[in-house]
Subunit: 224 residues, 2 copies
């Protein structure tokens, strides 16, 4: 339908992806990464410091609180912006969140192309899992009985989403990256944290819950 | 690319979906539904009867064992066949499982079209969740301490998959059904069981686990 003259030039792969009115990334790479990195450090330092004032909190619990706030804000702000901004690639104002996704799309152009699988996964992640992460932080802080099962549920959701993210890419030919750097740095390495950390948390919660069910079972058998 | 003469006629929507060498459904509707219905009844009756011989099994636990076997076999056999049979719509032998998916595609042509989101969801469901369902049945039978957390994990996976299934359809225009009957009977009603039942099981497991964590918490506080 669209003639060659209509195709806006963009840095994404495949080259025949139609993104009319595309506006190139204007912020430098160092700024895009730096802002995310520094604000993450700031937020986690704050949570680490404040959680130190809570009575009897183990270091592992304070670390987990940092993770839940970091990943929750990432889901709600970064991924939430993507979900509700279908035209981010047209942004002319150098708005930070639009720049993030213009840059990230070099690692996976399905974001710019607004592939329905990506939007669905990001939708569930930002709308359901994001707020649930903040609740998980609160549950650890206040030692709620649902703390482990909630952390387990969110971790499983993150794992499910990240697995689907990779499987759909492979099934569709795994050709959405603008080059080896973007492929490995953005698509592989950045996402791998959401395989590694949720796996560790899910295993920890599984063990804690099994231990509790076990002692519950012993108690019941004694009563009998 | 394909001229009008090359397009195989098929009953699916959208009509321009290319399915060369498509072979129409040959088994009658009543046979397709009847075999699934009767074999499900047979399997659940068997599980119900055998579970009755286990010592001290509540009815709810025996019902859950029936559900896990039914849903596990559905995942592994029906959905497993779909995942590993990309050319099911070309089947000329009236093979039952191919007929099931030819028929079901009238409710959602993304199956015949082999949309990557569908294949990914069905892949995780059949390969990971299917065997896990059978493990859940075994865990209930033998009162394993991981029984509730496993049932919770599978239910959450089923919910996540079914949600994504619907969200991707809506994002892609929700126009994959050959008519209102197929839309409601196959796409809406048949799948709704995998929203309803996993929700009920997830809530039950959540409550059981919270209760156990609660009494574990009390015990710890007493020791302090």
């Amino acid at each position: 339908m669209a003639g060659k003259s209509e195709a806006a030039p963009h840095p994404y792969v495949p080259a025949d992806l139609q993104l009319s009115e595309y506006v190139p990334v204007s912020l430098p790479f160092s700024t895009i990464i730096g802002v995310y990195f520094l604000s993450s450090i700031l937020v986690t330092s704050l949570v680490w410091t404040l959680s130190g004032r809570l009575p009897k909190k183990a270091k592992i619990e304070r670390l987990l609180m940092c993770w839940w706030v970091f990943t929750g804000l990432t889901h709600m702000i970064l991924e939430g912006y993507f979900v509700f901004s279908p035209e981010f690639y047209k942004d002319k104002t150098s708005f930070y969140l639009a720049e993030v996704w213009k840059e990230y799309s070099k690692g996976d152009s399905r974001y710019a192309a607004r592939e329905s699988g990506i939007v669905s996964i990001e939708g569930l992640t930002s709308v359901l899992e994001g707020p649930a992460c903040i609740l998980a932080m609160y549950a650890i802080a206040t030692e709620k009985s649902y703390s482990y099962i909630l952390q387990f549920a969110i971790s499983l959701g993150q794992l499910y989403g990240t697995f689907l993210y990779y499987i759909t890419a492979v099934l569709d030919g795994d050709n959405f990256s603008s080059g080896p750097f973007y492929y490995y740095a953005y698509y592989v390495v950045a996402n791998s944290f959401w395989i590694l950390i949720p796996s560790l948390i899910a295993i920890r919660c599984w063990k804690k819950i099994c231990a509790a069910m076990n002692s519950e079972g012993h108690k019941k058998r004694k009563i009998r």
